[in-house]
Subunit: 433 residues, 4 copies
């Protein structure tokens, strides 16, 4: 045991009335909702990068956090892992997620970095076995190092493509080795800073081939998890190719991968793209590509990704409602891709941020489940479209403009609008929040 | 001749030095650039709706314009047409565009509206023959009347779908009759106000079927023009399904229509979707679906579609540069989907706004053509990707992760980044503006 | 009794468990909180304009609502009043608010409009006496008619200034006559569309003089209410002079009116200006100019003012918390400057939207009151600044740079940052939501 | 001479037709415009921080630039200065600007940092004398170090206030010593991350006192330059107190400093605050607080400060037009607070970015000067307000509501709107661009 979280107890459920900051008020892993344990519904994961690798910098300021594991070398990487798994245990999160760069020292060569990763993966493996913590997903950091500044798969330099491909292979191997349930690709540098030096056609071809290779490799090694793309419209790039769910869908269709790859949707990224979180989830579900979520919130007054822990119950409820409507998570889960503010210096802050986030999710999830069980909203939705369930209406969809136009004139059709009832539906939602 | 534009002369090219407000300084239809007349490159169109049907209202105020043709009935509709064609002649625009609702009185029934449209189409036909003005595209207004408040093709009420289908048929017939070179669909109400009452799956199916019928009808009647979808992310709807070019592409792919339908890209819509105009054009071109443009500008400090006449040359130049790179317009053109400000009350304002817009486009187009002819930018772009022209690099795209990873380790690949040279490319652009 | 709200009962409090849509779950006017009845804390007002004067149009579509009182003439204006006061009674709102243009027919001359207003004010007076409904504030509509298109007080035409002054006089008279507790000025057209035709200096002088006259007139007639300015950054104008609370404060200081005029803060306007609602309230309170609120919400994905009924409890709670910290309302109140969606066609929608809004506010208010009573948040806030309560620290504020610099060097001051504890404070808030 | 800019010649004016990247096409320092040399109008300054202290990082990636002076210690600081002054000479910029943290090594104590600053100031002094480069302004970096994470003057910890005061003193001393013409305060951390832990009243009092001390110190030491506040709405802070020009004006009024302090306006900050650059300049001028500008551009599709070199002539022209209308710069100037993109790795990129920015400004300035000399725009502006020049109209501003209302009724005033002529004014502007 390290002494980083000295004196912080394991977090237990004490119910909504507790005044204990270090307790869950809503998250009760064993509580059964809609026939399943809450833990198995929510499938919480902690993100290694924000909590253990981020020094607290922002564009106008440097490091604020003093962490004993900051620095180079394998010993510090292992100390970091020790603390991370202690946090996972304190919180009782069943999963975690990581990038290669979060967990292993950068080597002088690709091979050395790969060997470092393998060593830390072994170290993780032992800890996972000992604690029962599982891996929701692994991923490769193809954006922080200066070699990726002009892209990874979409780089104008084929050597960077090669490096990226080799890196993804090593990260997929690591994910497979640790029993990861998904593998994620977020293309922070797959985009451009200026169209003036960019060949969109070439870069799309590169991206399509890269993703196809990833899918092939998954099958070759027998990885049973899901390949996930994480959309984001921009930041760091001025424009990012995986802009939003609809854009990713078009890309997958173009390269015939819509049956192989799903999406990992982040609330903050949805908002930057001009969408609500629930929109992106509902759209992905309707397109058959919903996979997993990154749970955070953005500041609505800031134009960049603030990655804050969720704290607005009604918003989170709408997200979980769409997930439940889509049948809930399969391989996906709720990853806190959220970071404490750079002024939140204390180890306690790290714990309490997660406690608050987990409680917000649990409370929202229960409300969503109750609303789904109640059934009123879905009944009202279905009623709105009831006209389309009539055979004549369905038949019209296989008809043609001429036939329809004749019917409109012959029957003197003159449709009268009906109330959309938005406010009463919002009131209904608020009954469950 | 009406007396609306009393005393305003036909606009002629007088060159950059003229102080005459009622002259072109840059637009010279017969000037040959890159082997083609400027008029044939730019293919300007005036939009009937903004200039002749809009009363000057905004969300906080009513009508500001006093126009002698405002009111009901066929006689006023014909007076409006008279004035419109006078404006086309004064400006020398070769094309115009219209919605059914802009040009014909609304009837008490669908059939009466259709007959009104046919009568006005005949009236237009005679004027077009007399003046030589042509139709760039026709379209149906499926968003203003309250019957469309919850959508047209995507309405929960199948009767509205039927009405919409019949309307599009009548508008396609009108467009065909007038020799229109394109037919446009803009789905201002194809979207939602709240996800709570919306079934995304059903609505997408309806939209897909609707568009397929439109394509079928085009072939049935032998319409040789292009079917165009105009993307917009929102406004009036909270979310609009044809969000942006990438979203439309995914939709077309899903319904197998990517070879049949192209896009009409509007600058203001691009900006509302978080893109630059040139991005949307370049993306559409790279996906093979570029069709036409709506030329206007948005106020960057306003969060809604301001539809102002273009006046920023450097921005417009980048748009035309991408159009030229894509080979220029085929059936498409430059439609001024722009409206004078509601305080611009005078007939002169209507003329001068177009003069300014046309001159801005002409000047920008010439700069774009010069930059393309110069070739430096394209040479620098190609050089940036030159590494990919080597056979080994191309071969990598048909390889696999394992093979690539082995090579990376074996060859000790360690790519060094190269300057993206953004500022010098921007300087280069400014040499031509 | 009209039959517009036929069959809709008066709304009563039934408690959180009720499934009755037409009941309050949280708003209980007589419940005592922090020593005062909930009704007296919240001071709800219904807005005449959105509920009774708005036809349901938007920039791309016309009227959707069919209301029996739409049209011209005094008889319809009185029918509208009948229905309005029936709604006030059904909801049990203690207050309402109105513009002149909402309630009286527009006359052919100023004098006729004034007389129409006086007639309707008498009609209101009788109804208010009969029902007990009171007037929270009156105001003048100086933005809808085309005469105001270039401003009211800030118009380049002095005749429009005169008309506006006369109009405000008549509306202040009406407000006084009806016992209004405040008088509001919202300058929707006090701003500009283009800086190119605008003289900022002149327009500010006009605005300052206009407001001074309003204050003088208040004193002259012995009006005891508060004069309120409602900030908004833009829409309809490209730029509006009363941009936000801080801007209004500077304007008041400039013309020596900071002791005479306060602000009416609207959530949607705060958001358009790049602020949270609670920020604007807290800032106004700290500057001594907090007056009243317009309660609504904006859609965070839309760049214009959507004026929706509030439904997000945690957000509303933070607003009421700042109001309570500032001592609660004095003459101000909670005006629902919110409109039902244009698809919400039914009379029931109008009632249920208000019921939902009132319940959201009541629930949020109770949470805010509980958090204030608890005291933990205020204690933690005070502790953060505790260093400044030491006399040496206070003394430093009256010192000078040289003295302070000497002490820094002499004492070897080297301050160590302390955690800002944001997440735990957010958790604390969520304990009360 | 270092060899950093090896082979790059001094930049000379060669005229618009040159194809030489390393020449000015528009900036000709000795060309006389409106009676003054272009250099004396534009007063260009290079910013030390972006060009010499920024490593190329962004929120998702680390250092991209390899600079021989990166690292600790006085020797490297002097090497950095050597290169910086070489760049100033190559470009021929008459001014530079710096923060303390840009130029001196951070010491272990405040006193050591101060002595380091003094040593480097001496080094600068010698170089300035040798080269003729002058200091436009100095400033203190009170935002990068973790001690400032919760504010400088507005910190909850009085020791940070003290540190900040001592730092500003040392930077004002340095600025005075180097003959700086202004002293700037930008409060990147003077704001908050969450209102929950913030006492707006206390923090404003601290800020007001701090600024008063700065003004006192200026007078005490006989500094003849101008004290400037640089507004910015947010980033890094969620909310920054010096939000925009109007907010700063209210703050200055509140503390009686409106005659002592002016503003340094940055284009990117204006845009983040929801304003155009020209708006902020025109507003400051009309309030009598215009001081200086930071010239850059923001990406309109990015929600953060991108600090790019200006390249859009028409936009820049409108800014210089407002500066010229206000009488031009006095102590202020055109500081390039702009950074090359992180992919622009080469020394050449640094030079060419400035060349492009200077040329964009020069071309725009000449257009602005020509438009002012032409006089048409100002004549049209004045005509629009001509009604107010009549004595009766002026008299109305000293009148009262009752008198005005009587006149409106008696005279049957009914003002008719006149065209705002926006498009023709925009056309007029384009004649000069």
């Amino acid at each position: 045991m390290t002494d980083f979280f000295n004196g912080i107890p394991h977090i237990r459920h004490e119910g909504p009335e507790t005044a204990n900051e270090f307790a869950f008020r809503h998250y009760n892993p064993d509580e059964v909702i809609l026939g399943k344990r809450m833990e198995d519904h929510l499938r919480f994961a902690a993100a290694y990068w924000h909590s253990f690798a981020w020094p607290g910098g922002d564009p106008f300021g440097g490091q604020t956090f003093d962490r004993p594991w900051f620095g180079d070398g394998m010993a510090l990487a292992k100390l970091k892992a020790d603390v991370a798994f202690e946090m996972f245990a304190i919180l009782g999160v069943p999963y975690f997620c990581f990038h290669d760069a979060d967990v292993r020292p950068e080597g002088a060569t690709f091979a050395e970095s790969r060997r470092n990763l393998e060593e830390i993966v072994d170290y993780f493996g032992a800890k996972m076995e000992a604690t029962g913590t599982r891996l929701l997903w692994g991923t490769a950091n193809l954006f922080s190092h200066r070699r990726f500044m002009a892209g990874a798969a979409t780089n104008p330099d084929p050597e960077v493509f090669a490096w990226s491909a080799a890196t993804v292979k090593s990260c997929m191997d690591a994910t497979m080795r640790l029993g990861g349930e998904n593998y994620v690709l977020w293309g922070g540098r797959e985009g451009y800073e200026t169209l003036l030096n960019t060949d969109l056609g070439r870069e799309a071809e590169q991206a399509g081939r890269f993703l196809s290779m990833v899918v092939d490799y998954k099958h070759r090694i027998g990885f049973k998890g899901t390949i996930l793309i994480e959309p984001k419209p921009q930041e760091p790039s001025k424009h990012q190719y995986d802009f939003d769910v609809a854009t990713v869908y078009g890309f997958l269709r173009r390269f015939g991968l819509e049956g192989e790859v799903k999406v990992n949707i982040e609330q903050g990224h949805a908002i930057l793209a001009g969408h609500s979180f629930e929109h992106e989830i509902a759209l992905a579900a309707s397109l058959g590509i919903f996979g997993s979520i990154d749970m955070n919130r953005n500041d609505y007054q800031s134009g960049w990704d603030t990655d804050q822990f969720p704290n607005n119950g009604p918003e989170v409820m709408l997200a979980f409602y769409e997930i439940l409507r889509a049948g809930g998570f399969t391989t996906g889960g709720t990853n806190f891709d959220a970071k404490i503010r750079r002024q939140s210096l204390d180890p306690e802050d790290l714990i309490l941020a997660h406690v608050g986030g987990m409680d917000t999710c649990a409370r929202a999830f229960k409300a969503a489940a109750a609303m789904l069980a109640d059934g009123t909203l879905e009944r009202l939705r279905a009623e709105r479209y009831a006209g389309w369930d009539r055979p004549e209406a369905r038949a019209m969809l296989s008809s043609d403009l001429t036939t329809i136009a004749e019917r409109v004139e012959r029957s003197g059709i003159n449709p009268e609008p009906r109330s959309g009832r938005q406010e009463r539906l919002e009131n209904l939602v608020n009954r469950f929040v």
